[in-house]
């Protein structure tokens, strides 16, 4: 991998934090040290420090007076210690710097610990009669805040918030209340006592406890404290205040003068310093490591999801649904009618009741059957209408006639409606005779009920792919010219159910299909209601994602989830319900599966129960999740848990892009920099060499020069490639279906040649290393942006594309320094590897793996683009493909 021309300076100065810590005065250091020591002591189990030293009102006696002083130094756990240290250290440092070490010791070991403790004990024991132990340095923090606030009050008496004036001295009280509310197990009273003492301190009433300056000076002079103790703040220093001039005369040499001398002791500091002098690691190596880590973390994250700790149990969030709370009456003589309708339809279809002889095509079926269905529905008293539609995609014409009927809610006013769909053909192309008959019988049955608050619309489309799409488009008046508008309408659709019962025997389970177009999902409540009604009320098992056997093990869960992700990622319509999702109408398909003892009446009762639940809805389904991954009928992962996975993978591209961007903005100027080993450092110098160089020159950074980034070429190239993605997009969606196979092979060839052509052109024009880096940076930046945005909409697609693009972060131009043979070998191997991961090759491999022909897949995809409004192709050709071409071209450049 190429080393950059030069490296930018670190974006932060780590020595600043360090120097603050190193300049902490003596008493503060001691206090911090003691607090840490006590915390460490608490880790053992033999002697409970907290029990020993905390301020327990009932334990107080003459012999345990030490508790009045020890309690601020003792903490209950790591976070308690850490947060209190974080709060108290700056305050204490400030106090000490202003008042001197001796005063600080005198006050903090004396009155400033014991007074709050005393007040607290009085109130707790004699007023409240309770026995709450307190412990921790927060008492000092609040005390100091209290005194600081009094000082603030003197100079700046009010906060003005609108027309209200809030005295500034109240701010510690607010903080006190907030801490009490936000942090569990804090003693409000204890904090209040310390704030009170803080006020007294701030107002000067505690001056009597401050040792007289004369005595302090005397002690200081006698013991030569300034000379002996490091970081001691003398009585004289304090008069200058925090930022006053520090007397240097008394400071021992080697202690205060050169803080660098500490470096040898501190490994951490050394590492930081090394990094500062040699950013090669930070800018060249670290991004690769981070990117790789991100990808690994993303994948591992995904595989953790099926565990119990990461997935959640399903629950019904919308209380109005009340699944399974009503008795379903669809049984008894309704079955006679079902058989009657079925025989009638069978007679017209020309099939006998056992097995179908020759299924007529939907076009032939339409006129006879359509009239029959309309007459049945009309006789039942429903409003019936039809809609003709025609779609053309890949040279194939899909046409048909939707029949639909509306049960008008008896006292409703056509504001809301529920849809029941029974397509003549299931999504697998089977004849859905039982489903259609069941819908007809249900229509007759539902008509008798007066409890419907919403209209119920029964739709009978000829197939599961185009019919509902035409209907729902026309319902919202968004249909194209070849689709007829609907003559009859109702209100806003609240939910949809699709019934599929193509079997000629009794079934065992209900298979719930829920994926929508472009990976949109229905509200989880609808799915849960279906599971709950079918399983809980009717005793019918439910399955999802064609997982017929599911024992709840990790493997099965993972398999279910991955199947769901593949469907979501491809974004095609998995059933007649899918077309509803883009209009924010939640819909699912109920498919029958297996050989069992459940009959059509059981399915009918399930549909009845579901319709009753939807009928209960007061508001559109909104309570539960819209983004989830299901791994079992009773377990799911919500977006908050799974999203980081795809985001990490998308983030790896962004990190690499940013690192490359930072690298391209600088160049070393060999003429101005005379430091040995730095200026002459050539590109691609080994890591060890630069480390040595860093160790040698302790005083100087490489004098990097900021240079202008030449953006015209990279931007033009990357944007041009993204626009060029429209060409294959157009070709693959608009040619005839017969040409798809040849078009795919042609695109494989083009994909092999195009990067080489680009590489040739790029090297022809003497593209600089900076431009090469910028091309990669811009391309990866766009890829990261697109994928992270996509992850929120279609997680699975973003994850899949992200994984397939992952090598693009790591491929780069092989530097010209490498020996030509190795270089050619590497780049040809790289190109070969990348070509395996090119979009058309992945498509071919996928088709071979699943055993479907490319023509079928691409015809389906083009149909999705034309009819369903599927966006998967756009992502492939306008996001994945350009990024891939750029990656391959960069590898190709090394050939020239």
């Amino acid at each position: 991998m190429a080393s950059p021309a030069a490296l930018p300076p670190l974006p932060f100065n780590p020595s600043r934090v360090r120097s603050y810590l190193l300049r902490l005065p003596l008493f503060t250091r001691l206090a911090v040290l003691v607090i840490i020591v006590f915390w460490l002591l608490e880790l053992q189990t033999v002697w409970s420090v907290v029990q020993w030293g905390s301020l327990i009102p009932d334990e107080m006696g003459l012999s345990s007076m030490y508790r009045l002083n020890t309690y601020p130094l003792i903490h209950t756990g790591f976070f308690h210690t850490f947060i209190n240290l974080l709060a108290v250290t700056p305050l204490l440092e400030r106090f000490e710097a202003e008042h001197g070490t001796l005063t600080a010791i005198a006050l903090f070991t004396g009155p400033l610990s014991t007074f709050p403790a005393g007040i607290y004990l009085l109130i707790e024991k004699f007023v409240l009669h309770s026995n709450t132990a307190v412990v921790g340095a927060s008492v000092w923090a609040f005390l100091l805040l209290g005194s600081e606030s009094i000082r603030t009050f003197k100079s700046n008496p009010y906060f003005i918030l609108g027309k209200y004036k809030i005295p500034t001295w109240t701010s510690p009280l607010f903080a006190c209340v907030l801490v009490w509310i936000l942090v569990a197990n804090t003693s409000f009273l204890g904090h209040l006592c310390s704030v009170l003492i803080g006020y007294l301190l701030g107002l000067g009433y505690l001056k009597v406890f401050v040792p007289p300056e004369k005595i302090l000076r005397w002690i200081e002079g006698k013991l030569n404290l300034l000379g002996r103790l490091p970081h001691y703040v003398s009585v004289d220093q304090k008069t200058y205040g925090r930022y006053g001039v520090l007397p240097t005369a008394g400071a021992p040499a080697g202690e205060r003068g050169t803080p660098m001398s500490f470096l040898g002791d501190d490994q951490m500091a050394a590492a930081i310093r090394k990094l500062r002098n040699n950013p090669h690691f930070l800018f060249v190596r670290l991004p690769y490591i981070l990117s790789l880590l991100f990808i690994i973390a993303g994948v591992v994250w995904l595989f953790l999801l099926p565990l119990d700790e990461y997935s959640r149990k399903n629950y019904i969030s919308e209380n109005a649904l009340l699944p399974g709370q009503v008795h379903a009456y669809f049984s008894g003589s309704e079955q006679h009618i079902f058989r009657g309708y079925k025989s009638e339809l069978e007679g017209l279809l020309g099939t006998d009741s056992g097995e179908e002889v020759q299924r007529p095509k939907s076009e032939e079926r339409t006129p006879v059957i359509s009239d029959k269905i309309q007459s049945i529905l009309k006789a039942t008293g429903l409003k019936v209408a039809t809609q003709n539609y025609e779609y053309t995609s890949s040279g194939i014409t899909h046409q048909g006639e939707n029949i639909y009927a509306i049960i008008q809610a008896p006292r409703g006013d056509a504001t809301e409606a529920i849809v029941l769909v029974a397509a003549w053909e299931t999504v697998d192309g089977e004849l859905n005779l039982n489903g259609v008959t069941l819908a007809l019988t249900l229509a007759r049955y539902f008509k008798r009920w007066s409890l419907w608050s919403k209209d119920i619309i029964f739709v009978f489309p000829p197939d599961s792919k185009s019919g509902t799409q035409a209907w729902i488009d026309a319902y919202h008046d968004m249909q194209r010219a070849s689709v007829q508008p609907l003559p009859l309408k109702s209100g806003a659709l609240q939910g949809g159910l699709v019934i599929e019962y193509p079997l000629n025997h009794r079934f065992q389970n209900i298979h719930i299909v829920y994926d929508g177009v472009n990976g949109q999902l229905p509200n989880l409540d609808l799915f849960n209601t279906a599971v709950s009604i079918a399983g809980g009320q009717m005793g019918i098992g439910t399955r999802l994602q064609e997982m017929w056997e599911h024992d709840g093990s990790y493997e099965k869960r993972l398999q279910t989830m991955l199947r769901g992700m593949v469907k979501q990622g491809f974004g095609y319509a998995t059933g007649a319900h899918s077309s509803f999702m883009p209009y924010h109408i939640d819909a699912i398909t109920l498919q029958t599966q297996g050989i069992g003892w459940q009959d059509e009446m059981a399915l009918g009762r399930t549909v009845e129960g579901l319709t009753r639940s939807l009928n209960n809805l007061l508001e559109h389904l909104h309570q539960s999740f819209f983004f989830y991954l299901l791994m079992q009928t009773h377990r799911f992962v919500s977006i908050g848990t799974y999203l980081p996975s795809a985001m990490l993978i998308a983030g790896n591209f962004t990190i690499m892009a940013i690192a490359l961007w930072l690298r391209t903005g600088y160049s070393t100027n060999p003429f101005s920099d005379t430091a040995p080993g730095q200026g002459e450092k050539p590109d691609g110098m080994s890591q060890t060499a630069s480390k040595d160089a860093g160790n040698i020159s302790t005083t100087q950074n490489p004098s990097n020069k900021v240079i202008e980034r030449q953006l015209a070429l990279p931007l033009t190239l990357v944007i041009g490639l993204h626009l060029a993605g429209l060409i294959p997009l157009h070709i693959f969606n608009n040619t005839s279906h017969a040409n798809y196979t040849s078009a795919t092979y042609a695109s494989v060839v083009v994909n092999t040649l195009l990067p080489l052509l680009l590489a040739g052109v790029l090297s022809q024009y003497r593209t600089t290393i900076q431009q090469i880096h910028l091309i990669k940076s811009v391309s990866l930046l766009l890829l990261g942006l697109f994928l992270s945005a996509l992850a929120t909409l279609n997680f699975s697609l973003s994850f899949m594309i992200g994984l397939l693009c992952a090598p693009l972060s790591f491929v780069n131009r092989i530097t010209a320094d490498t020996t030509p043979i190795l270089r050619y070998a590497l780049s040809i191997a790289g190109l070969f590897f990348l070509n395996i991961l090119s979009p058309p090759v992945v498509l071919l491999a996928g088709c071979a793996y699943f055993g479907v022909s490319i023509e079928t897949v691409l015809t389906e995809a083009a149909f999705g683009w034309d009819v369903w409004g599927m966006w998967t192709q756009v992502i492939i050709w306008c996001v994945w493909w350009p990024a891939w071409i750029v990656g391959a071209a960069l590898v190709g450049v090394s050939l020239f």
């Binding site: 700056p90 006292r411 919202h476 968004m478 209100g491 806003a492």
Partner: protein, 591 residues
């Protein structure tokens, strides 16, 4: 049907001519296809203007009368409606739509006031009082829901030219009409629903109807110099005969037992367990007791003529149809008409039984003059479209009508996008210039949170064609306190009112579209949303104050000025001050 209602109207206007306090009631029953029954109750009381003004109420309800006097209301129309009239099956509307409102509650009144503001304050008084009287949320009719229609409504009463009348109109499409509105409605009647036809009005049956409308109209009727205050209360319901005949204790429509199924035995596959249901041709049999769960408990004794000769219950069926009233009742048939009427015997409860009968003659249904349908199209959170379809069934006559729409302020229509399309019977769509369809327009744009949009269009639909009006609108984003508790249900848009100028009778025909549900962009009101808002605020406050305390350096004023003097800005400022002082000093010297 219209002719019948006209007859009733004429009859009442004749009886009103006598100009005396009186009370009439009437029940009109008409079977509607396929298996429904329209029951139309009408109650009419009069009182002279003089006694009304002296607060001497006899038949006129005192509660309402005092409200009207207090609110200076000269004419009042109040409607409670549920469901939709299925004009495809049931033909034209009862009373030509004059006695019905849009879904929910609709109120319009003519108020005598000096100016618009006074009228509005009286209107608020009126809605508040009526709200209490009728247990309805009429008090929610505020300025955003009040409109002042220009041409859609005309006063029905005879008003003095000296009065300065203001028409105000308000609608609550989301209001659910139920028993609590029926009880005060019945209390207004002289017999309080205890006797007479009103005794049939039971909440259980009334609110199980497919469509139901209650109306109250108060208007002054004048002849020569004398005036009457007339209150006209109607209840129109369409009962589903099958549903209403179910017993009260077993209301669940369970599947019938297999032997009671009516099957088409001619089918080849007909078997004991296979049944293709046969369509029933015969007219369904019913009786008043079966449908309403009770019989009419004698006439209201306050009715003029003591109810003995009053033909109170009328049935609108073909002459061949059998109808058996109880023996004491007197039946009157009008020859050549489909109407027959019965008197209520004063001693025994009245019942009427109409048995199941297979007859060919049907009462001809009157075709409505216009079909109208309105729906929201498009999808998404930001924009939408309104589509209104008018269908003129008449083969040779154009229909002229006024279309009145009041839209809530959060629906902002783009009137410039208003487009009209004409579709002939041949199905060919044609874009028409709006001026060809729209004869006149009255448009009052809405103001956010103050008033809604009011749109009145004078339209003309050519014969045998269907006109589609389209316009786009934008959905406003509400403040988060403005959302109702059920924000995700959507927001109701009041039904549009269509007034068709009827050429023969002079009285206009009214139609109303269904109300609409408008989904607005809604924030996620769930617990995390609230938690995020609250914690962010708290953290911001806490962080701000503590950070301020920690990093701010406190110095005295003198120190501060000394410090400032060190900076470049301070030095520059000092120079400028010095320069200014010097110039001023020079100036004063010159003087």
């Amino acid at each position: 049907m219209t002719t019948f209602f006209l007859l009733v109207l004429v009859f009442f206007s004749l009886s009103a001519g006598s100009l005396a306090s009186n009370y009439h009631e009437n029940l009109h029953l008409q079977p509607l296809p396929p298996s429904s029954l329209l029951a139309s109750f009408n109650f009419k009381s009069n009182t002279t203007r003089a006694s009304f003004d002296r607060q001497h109420f006899q038949y006129f309800p005192r509660a309402l009368g005092q409200i009207l006097q207090h609110a200076n209301t000269q004419e009042l129309h109040l409607r409670f409606t549920t469901g939709r009239w299925d004009s495809e099956s049931w033909g034209s509307r009862p009373w030509d739509g004059a006695k019905e409102g849009g879904t929910g509650v609709e109120l319009w009144a003519w108020i005598d006031a000096a100016d618009d503001e006074a009228a509005f304050s009286k209107w608020i008084t009126l809605t508040q009082s009526l709200s209490g009287l009728f247990c309805a949320s009429l008090n929610f009719i505020d300025s955003t829901k009040t409109t002042r229609p220009v041409t859609s409504f005309e006063p029905a009463g005879d008003h003095l030219p000296s009065e300065n009348l203001h028409l105000l109109h308000g609608a609550l499409p989301g209001e659910v009409v139920c028993t609590e509105n029926l009880t005060p409605f019945l209390k207004l009647l002289p017999c309080k629903g205890k006797a007479g036809v009103a005794s049939l009005l039971d909440g259980h049956k009334l609110f199980d109807a497919s469509w139901q409308s209650m109306s109250i109209d108060v208007r002054p009727v004048c002849a020569e110099s004398e005036c009457l205050m007339q209150i006209d209360q109607t209840v129109d319901i369409v009962l589903d005969i099958d549903r209403s005949k179910r017993q009260r204790d077993n209301p669940i429509p369970r599947p019938v037992s297999p032997d009671k199924l009516v099957c088409d035995t001619s089918k080849s596959y007909h078997a004991r367990d296979t049944c293709y249901p046969r369509e029933q041709k015969a007219e369904k049999g019913w009786s008043i007791t079966e449908l309403f769960g009770r019989s009419i408990s004698g006439p209201c004794p306050l009715v003029d003529g003591q109810g003995a000769n009053e033909e109170t219950v009328c049935l609108h069926v073909p002459q061949e149809r059998e109808a058996h009233p109880i023996p004491d009742s007197v039946e009157t048939k009008v020859t050549g008409d489909f109407t027959r009427c019965f008197t209520l015997p004063s001693s025994t409860p009245f019942d009427l039984t109409v048995p199941e009968q297979d007859i060919d003659t049907k009462v001809p249904l009157e075709e409505p003059v216009l079909h109208a349908e309105r729906s929201i199209v498009g999808h998404g959170q930001e924009r939408g479209g309104m589509r209104i379809i008018f269908d003129n069934p008449s083969p040779n006559k154009a229909v002229d009508f006024i279309y009145f729409e009041s839209l809530p302020w959060f629906l902002r229509p783009y009137i410039h996008t208003l487009q009209a399309t004409i579709t002939g019977r041949d199905g060919i769509r044609r874009q028409a210039p709006t001026s060809e369809i729209i004869k006149e327009t009255f448009y009052r744009p809405g103001i956010d949170r103050e008033r809604g949009t009011q749109l009145e269009l004078g339209l003309s639909v050519p014969p045998a064609s269907r006109v589609t009006l389209n316009y786009d609108f934008e959905k406003a984003i509400l403040r988060y306190t403005e959302y109702p508790p059920d924000a995700n249900r959507g927001f109701n848009v009041a039904p549009a009112v269509i007034k068709v100028a009827s050429p023969q009778a002079g009285r206009p025909i009214y139609l109303r579209t269904t109300s609409l549900l408008l989904p607005l962009p809604t924030p996620d009101f769930s617990m995390p949303y609230n938690v995020i808002i609250l914690t962010s605020t708290v953290i911001a406050l806490a962080f701000g104050s503590i950070f301020n305390l920690l990093v701010r350096r406190f110095v005295t004023a003198e120190e501060a000025s000394a410090l400032r003097a060190q900076t470049l800005k301070g030095r520059l400022a000092g120079r400028i001050v010095a320069l200014r002082d010097r110039i001023r000093g020079k100036g004063s010297k010159v003087e």
